[in-house]
Amino acid sequence: MKKRLHVLALIMAVTMALTTLAACGSSNNNGGSATNNPSSTNSGTKEPAKDTITALLPPVSGNFQSNFEQMEKDFNELYPHLTLKIEPASWEDMTQKLDTQVNAGSPPDIAFIGSGGISKYLQQGMLMDIKDVVTDEMKNDFDQIPYDYMAYEGGQYGFPAYMEVHALGGNKQFLEDAGIDWKGVQENGWTYDEFRKAIQAGVVKNADGSTRYGFVFATAGVASKDYLGILAKSAGMPYYFDQDMKYTYTSQNFLNLLTAVRDMIDDGSMPKELSSVDAGKRWNMFLTGQTMITGKGLATFENSANLNNAKIKANDGSAVAGSIEAEYIVLPVPAFFGNDFVPNTVVDGYVTFRGKKEPTQEHKENVAKAAYFLASGKVAAQTNNDLFSAHITASAKEAAKSMEVNRMPENVVAVENMLAQAVPNRTDIPVDKAAAAIKIETEVIVPKLQALLANEITPQDMYDAVKAAAIKTFGEDGIVVD
């Protein structure tokens, strides 16, 4: 009996050990390295080898992930020898999942990320340059500016899905009440002085003691980076580096911009608690009539506002608590201190990765085909329509003709105007310099901006801190002095 128990316990122990090992083993087999070697067929025939392409995709639009099965099927019909295997991820998990896979040396072949992340992964040596396998037909389908956002130092690292403008959004009724000619602003833009007068006029003290602010921007945590970055574009600092590759956030414009950021809070146009207002909070403030203008504003917000309006009209209990009907008006960011308006454009798309093993030419071609399939035609048309984003491929524009979108025509024109003024991507900035600028941004700019917004330091203090960090990183000669 004792011996039997021993044997039983041993079996259990071995099973547990094997389970653990099996779990580790299977994780090593997933990912890019396994798929980098398409199984070869008989060398005598010309039939293409079978291959599997993996993609890690977040819920880019509301319906995006529910279409995965159809996308995989459509791709397989188009290329019967290829299998597209899509792994869904939530936005929250996306970066962590991808980073873990990248650092383990087995990323997916394709991942949906912002073009801003390219330098980070390129520095790790884990991106796959598909420049030599992109056909003219693929390349010519894309608008040039968004296409170039996926390029870096001469390489092409995937295809863009859309180009979005980070603009502002206004409540039509409140804008008109404050006497703001929003159509004129959409057409001709506005200066910081005009904008400041407008947001001051938008402040209303309600009878219950609460305040409707003129302007609320999400700045809590990392969102503060967006706030400053979006304003800096139109304050003479469209990039971290100027044409002479000198760091621009040390110019007088930067100090003036920081002063403006503080002034808008001090005069009561923005709430004094701004540093704790996150993206959800400010959108809630917009829908509940606590602010006239909000930021950052994406085209898709018009859709969210429309949906909430419909719920209010239908007396639907799932409408945002305390919300009012609000017509969303797309507004440009003001131009600061006599500088040109430069829209902050973001390009997100399907970035191509490689595993530890060198990918074969055939696999590269297959990955490019899959990335192009996702970034163009019907898939792109449907996704961008859901997002109210402009189409950036001829094939998606064609496919979208038969699809209906409920957008305010003025907003469509306003977004198109801004996109037309988008500045091209800088592909000449060396990877290490871009990474150093991102490090200053995370370690100095974001924390100091939080302190500035909380009124704990002065604009001059923040400017000095950023300048000191820039000199330490790029040297006295590596920064703009004016």
Binding site: H6, A9, L10, A13, M16, A17, T20, C24, Q96, D99, V102, N103, A104, G105, K120, Q123, Q124, G125, M126, S210, A220, G221, V222, P271, K272, E273, S275, S276, V277, K281, K356, K439, T442, E443, V446, P447, K448, Q450, A451, L453, A454, E456, I457
Partner: protein, 301 residues
């Protein structure tokens, strides 16, 4: 002759019960080796490298030099020490007080209280943080701000201001999960023989004298255990700062755990992150050693 002596010894070793022992601990040993020992050794090696998935380069003690020269590292250590000093003793006191208050109850009521106090330990930390974010809403409508408005205090930017951000995390810790400590204290309290209390009563001791002369000395091993594990846990704290403040504003709540996470997963500087985690491990080891040296002299287990 020698061979004849050796052979039976070998046989005895293989045939003995010890072989079963080694076989059974093999699983635990394997899991320990794979998920604890290997990562530690790996971290030690990576701390001397600039890590890249396609091939790391040896950089000597550069990562350690950068760590010790980094102002942010020392600031994060200071923040962690402040957080630990403010949270661990209060947590011990609260758990002890709750356990003392629960112990006179009947068993079913004790169990109910134990379950109630343990509940937050089962809840997801992320969900708890979301609730706390809501409590700390900076606007006048926020729950905490409404409470302080009763006393005529203006609404505070709890998590957004350096003056209150750390305090907010500390308050969250004070009012969060003490369930595990309460259960451990209760178990220890039940282990004290009634005869000590009876003798004290005969001597005319009051409640506080019984507490001071009987309960506190008897619970010293438990307190030491909770203190050491509490300090270790507090030094590794990461989730609260990550979810509530992101380390801000101006690094006022950047704990060393969060700094290591950022270095590894935001900047991909695994070498520096590994060096910092080993320095942290060393700091924790030294503090634990000091605690055992000064508080554990007369503790018997």
């Amino acid at each position: 002759m020698i061979q004849t002596v050796k052979t039976p010894t070998k046989k005895r070793k293989i045939k003995g019960d010890s072989v079963w022992g080694y076989t059974f601990i093999a699983v635990a040993l394997l899991v320990f080796a794979m998920f604890t020992a290997y990562p530690v050794v790996s971290a030690f090696i990576i701390s001397f490298q600039e890590y890249k998935p396609l091939g790391s380069t040896f950089v000597g003690i550069e990562n350690y030099k950068e760590t010790f020269a980094s102002e942010l590292f020392w600031k994060s250590i200071k923040n962690t020490v402040v957080y630990t000093v403010l949270t661990v003793p209060v947590a011990l006191f609260l758990s002890f007080a709750v356990a003392i208050m629960i112990i006179p109850f009947k068993k079913w009521l004790q169990t109910t209280f134990k379950a109630v106090y343990y509940l937050p330990a089962v809840a997801s930390g992320v969900a708890l943080s979301v609730v706390w974010l809501w409590i700390y809403d900076p606007m006048k409508t926020g729950i905490f701000n409404r409470v302080i408005s009763i006393f005529g205090i203006e609404n505070q930017n709890w998590l957004g201001s350096s003056a209150t951000a750390m305090l907010s995390l500390v308050i969250m810790s004070w009012l969060s999960s003490h369930g595990t400590s309460i259960i451990i204290y209760l178990a220890a309290l039940l282990g004290i023989d009634n005869s000590y209390y009876e003798a004290a009563e005969l001597d005319g001791a009051n409640f506080f004298q019984k507490l001071w002369y009987i309960v506190v000395p008897f619970l010293k091993p438990t307190t030491l255990f909770l203190l050491v594990t509490g300090v270790i846990g507090s030094f590794q704290v990461f989730q609260n700062a990550y979810l509530m403040t992101g380390g801000g504003p101006d690094h006022a709540t950047t704990m060393v755990g969060l700094l290591i996470f950022n270095n590894a997963f935001t900047y991909f500087e695994f070498g520096q992150a590994s060096a910092q985690s080993l320095v942290l491990a060393l700091i924790i080891a030294v503090i634990s050693l000091i605690q055992f040296k000064f508080l554990g002299n007369d503790v018997e287990y």
